[in-house]
Symmetry: none
Subunit: 210 residues, 4 copies
């Protein structure tokens, strides 16, 4: 018996199933058959809609890239408060990476596989964030001794590292609590560490004079 003929629904089902499996096994480790099984859509039809496995993967990467970009910059920066904006973006980033591992994993696969689709989005984001930091430095809000890209590395790197190593830490250091709790505890420390790092020497002095 044929399925209902709803092109969009079918595509959606395929994309969701594929996203899940690609996240788990990467491009080379994923077979169309497994996507067909997971989605309940025959592999013939998958190729009918997406032309090739390659194209299906790229479609997913582009979609993820857009979603990610939207999620990160989805902050209210009308206040003009740069520090506040930056903090919110930080939180967004952290939340997005923690939320589920799909983006995190696919982004990593795609990096290793030398795919440019996701990197393009990240480039824009990186440029934007670096510019943000530069502006804050110009206003004396951020330690000017460090270049924006070095600060960026210190900001985003730990998040990725945390995502990748949470379980390792959990075991090695015998930490208790659910993943969400651990994420929460880490983020508190993490944001304080970032604050300390960004704090400009001039502001420290001012604070101490009080």
């Amino acid at each position: 018996m044929r399925k209902k003929r709803d092109s969009e629904t079918t595509k959606r089902q395929v994309l969701e199933a594929a996203k899940k499996i690609f996240a788990e096994h990467g491009f080379a480790g994923t077979s169309l058959a497994s996507i067909a099984e997971e989605s309940g859509i025959s592999d013939g039809l998958i190729l009918h809609h997406f032309k090739s496995k390659e194209n299906l993967y790229e479609t997913i990467l582009n979609e993820l890239s857009k979603e990610y970009y939207k999620a990160i910059i989805n902050v209210d920066n009308t206040s003009g408060n740069l520090a506040q904006t930056a903090f919110e973006m930080l939180q967004n980033t952290f939340t997005y990476w923690c939320k589920d591992s799909v983006y995190s994993r696919i982004a990593t696969w795609a990096f290793l596989e030398n795919r440019v689709s996701l990197i393009k989005g990240e480039k824009e984001l990186t440029t934007g964030l670096a510019e943000n930091i530069r502006q804050m430095q110009a206003k004396g809000l951020v330690d000017e001794r460090f270049s924006p890209f070095a600060l960026l590395a210190m900001t985003i790197g730990p998040i990725q590292f945390w995502m990748r190593s949470r379980n390792l830490f959990k075991e090695a250091l015998k930490l208790d609590g659910s993943d969400q709790e651990l994420d929460q505890r880490f983020f508190e420390q993490y944001s304080q560490m970032v604050m300390k790092l960004y704090q400009s020497p001039s502001m420290i002095k001012r604070e101490e004079e009080k």
Copy 2:
């Protein structure tokens, strides 16, 4: 004409070729045929020596794990100067990850592929480093407000992020210079940032009083 019959040499050739290709394409993306071509050893013989593709991969992972561990802890800690020891380990880590991307990439593949071989080594390392930090905190050398594992994340995360994003930064921020130069510039800033982060408030006061 037959090859010379030197088991060790043959194995070495296979391992080097395999390491290179696995680093490039991961486990699933690598075919024994490609390793055979790269190494000049027939796939039949590869399996004669390593039993299976799986086993060959694991052999490489174990080897890398040991090399990594040795390289990182290869510091002269007879001085008892904890800060000095820590800094050297930091530098070792950075250098190792930068040196060539093979370890970095294979470690990342292995993480995505849920392989435990490398992780085991990392766990010991993580525990050791966290203990180092704890001791330094006990002596008032490191900011005690942050937990050791949070500090570890802030220390190692950026290195990995840098390795992965160096090219991205290069393009996005139009940086000049060779990879080595960029690595050097980054490490200078990076180590200063880490210093600032680790610096305990009491020490800051003391310094300012001078």
Copy 3:
């Protein structure tokens, strides 16, 4: 040019070719490639339909088992004449084993390969036949000094032996005639021997008194 897309026909072709080759060379001695060549179906497609060589073989064993069972018990036993029924089953068995060697050979391979698929059918059959003999013994139609399973061995064993050794006999004893003729001649003697063997002592006396 593609083949016609008739799943059932294709499967049938594969099964027939496979049956022939498995009968000839057994499971281990048969390659999918040879079945592919014999049937004209590519080995990829064979596995598409039968999942694995193993499964293809089991499919054949099950089919043969069913056919065999049907052929043997296909007797008109409405008359209630046990002796007549038994004789017909004997004839059926003989005919089936003689008809072509496929069943005989595959059953033997399967026995050596420790496969249970065929044996299951044989077990039911054996039980049924033994029960038949027991009933005839209860009615004084069959020599009661021998247990049903001993009689069964004396009944079925020679048929299999004949099938296996016909050619041997032919050569060793310089017999003339086609296989069919030899089978016919053997069956005549065979059925008389079975009769003599089964004949109960009491019946012999009665006959002689006449």
Copy 4:
């Protein structure tokens, strides 16, 4: 470390191991590697001694053929008592087939594989046995209505069938006892059945007149 250089011992080890494994898996199902493992002799050396897998197998078949022949005809026929001689050969045959399944299984494999090595021995044996029967018939010791080869089939067939189906019977008919016990019970019935079958009508009359 090299093994002791005793050619005969090595060959013997290989032959015993190979016999066991060939009996279990047949020619096609057996790999030299498995024989090498079982015997503790490297596959290179096996081929050094036996030239090829094929030749090793044939060597075994020939050996078995000779052993079998010796075992069967190993009777004291100086007495000139044909019946006694025949009975002893029957017992020898039964014992040999029951003793262990190696001969039985290899002989069956070899038959299916269309090997002539074993068959040659069987042919001589068959001819000899048929001649025996003919002589007994000439002396009125055996029912003359049946041809020698038909009687042979009724004599040897059940033994092979029993060997092959013992386990089947055991399960189907819920028989108790060890294999040896069952063999013993079967042989008692079997030899009586053979007696009854061979008995010439004239002898029956004579017996009844007493």
